[in-house]
Amino acid sequence: MRGENAVLGAAGLAAFLALGEAAPRLGLVEEAYFPPTSRIAEALVDELSDDAFWSALGDTLTGWALGLAIAVGAGIVAGVVLSVVPHLREATASTIEFLRPIPSVALIPLAVLLYGTELRSVLLLVVYASFWQVLIQVLYGVQDVDPVAEETARSYGLGPWARVRHVLWPTALPYVMTGVRLAAAVALILAVTAELVIGAPGLGSRIAVAQTSQAVPEMYALIVVAGLLGLLINVGARTVERRALAWHQSVRGEVAV
């Protein structure tokens, strides 16, 4: 079953690439704007041998990783504190609901005003967008604590900190993992967007340069790289999730007893 799916997946991808090759060659689309697959592949190979490409990739990954790390750390701490301190969650709920839907890109002018085209501009946007993903999941996760588990911990003399560590945190972990996976994807989108619009160094600004200099195949090659990056990040996040949650029902499945 799994093998069959893999074959079908590969066949689908091959068909898509073949279509991308055939459509411009048959004149169905303008070749100047939609170069055939082989041209994009050539441009991609050229990019890979260019040091500037690798430094742009490094910049994007730096912005992504730093921003994500800050957002995850802040999201977890804020989520736990909001849930544990009585009344704090109710007091902040409306503010969170107001701030959360603000699109991060709407903060681009602010970021430029504050930090220009520095890395900090990218970080501001990345952190703002990913923070909410983590925070909301942590809030849900903390609510999911089983009253029986909590009572068990209390009856065995576990203090507040021990209960956060041994009951609340493991309970919230599956939610946190989901939040991190979502945040990782959002962070990449925002990192590339920020570079593209603000011109901070990275893949995004390289795409903008390729576009303005009419290097269309190179532009597509860079877009492909950004797509592959997203794919890798998702696969990586899922792997981490499976490892950390081996005990969880969603991962372990049904166990024959």
């Binding site: 029986v148 068990t152 009856s155 003399g157 576990l158 493991p170 972990l173 166990v255």
Partner: protein
Amino acid sequence: MLDVRGLRKVYEGSGRRVEAVRDLTFTVGAGELVCLVGPSGCGKTTLLRCMGGLLTPTGGEVLLEGRKVTGPPPGTAFVFQEYGRSLFPWMRVAENVELPLKQKGLGKARRRELVTDALESVGLADAAGAYPWQLSGGMQQRVAIARALAYEPRVLLMDEPFAAVDAQTRADLEDLVRGLWRERGMTILFVTHDIDEAVYLGERVIVLSGSPTVVREQLTVDLPAERDQLHTRVAPRFAELRTHVYEQIQAAKRGIAPQDTPETQDALAKADAPPKRDALVKADVPGDPDVRTDPPPSR
């Protein structure tokens, strides 16, 4: 050892006021195994949670060794009915048993010793490295019991611990608890809705009324200390005791018919519970002289 005095618990919330426990007074002596039995929904669990310091009573008090219980007291272990939720699925069996010991601040060697000993006592020495969810229900409840044992409690509170396991497993677990009690000499308060279980396990059975709960009767179980599933359960004395408790519970249930006001409930409870001293020992107070005058059969 354990004194419950005038305990009262009223739940209030969303416009509803539920008096779960009205006025409970009883004592559990050191090293006793007492079973609390009552009709379903009679506040047994509320009572036990108050005794374990997990709930604050509305009125009255619980004293453990003369000291008022205000939070979970050290030296008291709890075994919950919902073993699947009480054990932490993210920890292996041995880690589950060990966690409370870490909180106690015991050294590593001592912890390991206690964990091994407790798991051996419940016959699960092999399962130390498994996750709870890899075990059957009965085995999971054994792990929960092992966790309580390793904690070296002076008082063990058990809240309908075998209500969710199958009948055969339940019999094994009952024998396990009795065996551990005789071996380790701790005080056990065992809440159950199963009359046979209460009589089979307990040295004393406290029968509760329907909600709002009061103590309806206290009964000394004068069965021999050595009990087994096969012979004890067919002993004539066992049948007498369980019949008596059954009648008490039935009467208690009738006492909670919805049209009854609290006053008539009390009247009913009194009318339905004449002291049957000819057939049975009624121990309103532990150490009631009647207890000793009654000749214990087949001992």
